[in-house]
């Protein structure tokens, strides 16, 4: 055990990675230390998150003044530690054997550090404070992009040690809370950026000039922004964009000539619009279309070989994927219908689970990547043919977050019908689940 002064010197002189190693070596002692520090956590888990609706986020930005921006910063500053605290608490209730898994422990430590950092952030009072706050949040978002692969690896290693239902619940809870924190954070950062841009052009400052001196907006300055939310998102546009991207990815992966991938035909209420965060919707459509297209291509792979022999294809090689949009008063529903041959009956009971043994093998693939943000724009170093067993359950987490759902019906020997249902009007409150149930005897 090093004396206190030497410990401080170490931390102040050395790089972060070496500090991490130091922390890991002392991890046993840290765990026990944390047990007593938990009283701090309790203050935060005693609070409930203040949930929002999409509409509220939009209305907020309708008349964005400096005061409102600062209020938003402080709202996020208050929410992040509360939401993190609940999730840290979830870790603490995991069976010991799972909590000591090195990957899960990594996430646990990351969350503890973030929690500590956020709860100590000073109150935001000025625009400059806000910029510093946004930087801190942005750094944190970046550091936590390894969370999903770490969770995936940890969970795959725990398959068999802990009841699958319990781990599934844990994973879902982790992921939905993560989405909620990132949504609040990214929304605030986007609003701040947009506000600054507008302020810059209002003041006539060029792009290169820094803001360092500007701590206060002119009186009465207001702008209209809604950050990452889109109030009138066109469903067909996102679907078509996702379809194009998926087709490109898979054409490359399967060595198909350009344009040979299965067509995606969109029908129904093609002019449907709804309020959403486009990135979330895009992720879901991307995953579903990727599943459909990939399996259709595999199913008809003999046709690939035949056409390679013949040379130019005489017609479309594959049956199309039909997407139907259906818009009702309160919801929008999208059906993705393919002729992929259906879902393998051995896998079918587990398609929504993160943790069943049949999935554990695929989750192991997380070892090959460092970061994953579960965003559609992500370029992975791995081929899209590598499956993590993750896309469907994650899509459902995204959908359920705003009160929707994803469902799948398999027609064995024929194909799959997948249904995405999302509220249209943005008036559904965040669905981040109940807090951790109290242990007996409390």
């Amino acid at each position: 055990m090093l004396p206190r002064q030497t410990a401080h010197t170490l931390i102040s002189c050395q790089l972060l990675s070496q500090v991490r190693r130091y922390v890991t070596v002392r991890s046993g002692r840290n765990l026990q230390q944390k047990f007593y520090e938990n009283r701090i956590l309790d203050r935060y888990t005693a609070q409930e998150p203040k949930k929002v609706t999409l509409r509220q986020l939009v209305l907020f930005g309708r008349q964005l003044t400096e005061d409102k921006l600062i209020a938003s910063a402080n709202y996020v500053r208050g929410e992040l530690p509360v939401r993190l605290a609940h999730r840290i608490s979830d870790f603490q209730y995991l069976p010991y054997i799972a909590g000591t898994n090195p990957h899960l422990k990594t996430v646990y430590d990351l969350y503890w550090r973030a929690f500590d950092e956020f709860r100590k952030l000073p109150v935001v009072k000025t625009l400059q404070d806000n910029r510093r706050f946004c930087d801190a949040v942005r750094r944190n978002l970046l550091e936590h992009s390894q969370v999903i692969p770490q969770l995936g690896m940890g969970v795959s290693e725990c398959a068999g040690l802990v009841a699958p239902d319990e781990i599934d619940r844990f994973m879902s809870q982790m992921l939905v809370s993560r989405i909620s924190r990132r949504t609040l954070a990214e929304q605030h950062i986007a609003l701040s950026q947009q506000f600054d841009e507008d302020l810059r052009s209002h003041l006539g400052l060029s792009v290169d000039e820094s803001f360092d001196q500007l701590n206060q907006a002119p009186a009465g300055f207001a702008t209209q922004r809604i950050g990452i939310v889109r109030a009138d998102c066109s469903a067909i546009q996102i679907i078509n964009d996702s379809a194009l991207r998926v087709a490109e990815l898979l054409e490359e992966a399967h060595n198909l000539p350009p344009g040979a991938a299965p067509q995606v035909l969109v029908e129904g209420h093609t002019d449907a619009m709804f309020m959403c965060i486009p990135e979330h919707f895009s992720y879901i459509m991307h995953e579903l279309l990727k599943n459909s297209m990939d399996h259709v291509i595999r199913r008809f792979s003999e046709r690939l070989d035949e056409s390679a022999v013949d040379g130019a294809a005489s017609g479309p090689l594959f049956p199309p994927i039909r997407v139907t949009i259906c818009s009702s008063h309160a919801d929008i529903m999208i059906r993705v219908s393919d002729q992929s041959g259906g879902i393998d009956p051995d896998v079918l009971p587990y398609i929504w689970s993160f943790t069943q043994p049949v999935k554990a093998k695929r989750l192991h693939n997380f070892h090959a990547i460092q970061r994953m943000e579960a965003k559609p724009a992500e370029a992975s170093s791995l081929s899209p043919l590598v499956s993590f067993g993750f896309g469907l359950p994650m899509s459902r987490v995204y959908a359920k977050y705003w009160g929707g759902n994803v469902n799948v019906h398999s027609l064995p020997g024929y194909g799959v019908d997948a249904y995405v249902q999302l509220p249209r009007l943005g008036n559904v409150v965040e669905n981040i689940g109940a807090r951790r149930a109290q242990a007996h005897g409390d």
Binding site: H269, S328, H329, G342, L411, P412, G413, Y414, Y419
Partner: protein, 391 residues
């Protein structure tokens, strides 16, 4: 007697004061009803799948039937005893109660059968009896509609589920034996294809059955509304399944009736010029057949979705449901009609689901509100390799 002091017996006696039937000894009913119920096994149904049928086979089958049916009928009779008194006095409910009691009386009083001639008498009696019980469901439906305020929804649903499930079992056993009986006698005259095992058709072609049902329903729709959507059948159209055709037909007709009706009414409502066709897709899995029926009938409103599998719940207009003034004969005559009492009384979907599930299948509905519905029907092939037990 101690027996007479039992509340059930008192209720029974009180109720019988309202009926005109007298039964010589209700103790017998209780005796039979208290016996253990042996589930119907697929093995039993397919026992005589190797032609030709011998007299020994038939006598074996009748012995099984004779041991099973009275127990089941007795249990049905007893199940009425726990209904609230006011419900039991409803004329429709009382009528069904008496029908079951009479059926029990007739069948249980047959002495053990030892000869082919006696077996033929039994088979004919059984056939007649089945005919007499054919309107049980619409009658009960009518009765419960009138008794809506006297029973809780869950109690009613429980009773009806039990009744229908048990009725399916009764009919499967009874019809199987009657079919075998005829098959035995027919095979001596003509060379029967060996596709039938009693009432089970081992090479049923779902595609052709769907086409027939769709044609029938389309005709009914034209008759009732003056217009009807077209339909097409695609997928694995050459696949066959081993199943009881009447069950298959009942389920698919119910589902198609909903699809056709919804399409026409939604077209009217949304001023659509042409009806989008009904799409029927057949798929074959390992040991079962899947049927997907897709319509553009506007879907089912989210608030209504949880009710669609409930009994006595219907979206048909009120004037079409008030059949109280119509005699049961008229009701029966309209039974196949698309606007008939079955559709109006809200029994179609729950019953179809029970039938689908009877041999291990399933029925799921996905509603796309404002657009249409997708119905996923899965029926398990009745094959000896898969040992399933039904009640």
């Amino acid at each position: 007697m101690l027996l007479r002091r039992l509340p059930q017996v008192q209720r029974l006696c009180a109720r019988r004061a309202f009926t005109s039937k007298t039964h010589y000894d209700e103790k017998i009913v209780y005796q039979y009803a208290s016996q253990q119920l042996k589930p119907v096994s697929i093995g039993q149904l397919l026992k005589y799948s190797q032609p030709p049928l011998t007299p020994a086979n038939i006598l074996d089958s009748v012995a099984y039937t004779q041991s099973e049916l009275p127990v089941r009928l007795a249990k049905r009779v007893i199940s009425f005893h726990n209904l609230p008194f006011i419900v039991g006095t409803n004329p429709h409910i009382a009528r069904v109660y008496n029908q079951y009691y009479e059926a029990f009386d007739r069948l249980y009083s047959f002495a053990p059968i030892d000869s082919i001639e006696r077996e033929w008498e039994f088979a004919r009696a059984l056939e007649r009896q089945t005919q007499l019980l054919v309107d049980v469901i619409p009658t009960i439906a009518q009765g419960f509609l009138e008794c809506k305020q006297y029973m809780k929804r869950e109690e009613r649903a429980l009773f009806i589920n039990e009744l229908i499930r048990s009725r399916i079992g009764l009919r499967v056993i009874g019809e199987q034996h009657v079919a075998l009986s005829y098959q035995f006698r027919d095979q001596q005259r003509s060379s029967l294809e060996d596709v039938w095992v009693g009432a089970i058709h081992t090479k049923l072609l779902p595609a052709s059955m769907m086409r027939q049902c769709a044609q029938l329903v389309q005709n009914m729709c034209e008759m009732h509304y003056g217009t009807a959507p077209s339909y097409y059948v695609d997928g694995d159209v050459d696949e066959t399944i081993s199943y009881i055709p009447s069950h298959f037909e009942y389920i698919t007709c119910e589902l198609l009736k909903n699809a056709f009706r919804a399409t026409v009414e939604f077209s009217r409502q949304s001023h659509r010029l042409a009806h989008p066709p009904i799409q029927i897709t057949i798929t074959k899995g390992e040991g079962y057949v899947g049927v997907r029926i897709r319509d553009q009938g506007g879907g089912i409103a989210k608030d209504n979705m949880r009710n669609v599998f409930e009994y006595s719940w219907s979206t048909m207009q009120d004037d079409e449901t008030s059949t109280a003034g119509m005699s049961l004969q008229t009701n029966l005559a309209m039974q196949q009609g698309i606007g008939g009492p079955i559709a109006g009384l809200g029994f179609g979907l729950p019953m179809a689901r029970l039938y689908a599930g009877y041999f291990g299948g399933s029925l799921d509905i996905v509603s796309m509100e404002g657009y249409g519905c997708d119905v996923f029907l899965k029926l398990r092939s009745i094959e000896g390799s898969v040992e399933q037990k039904q009640i």
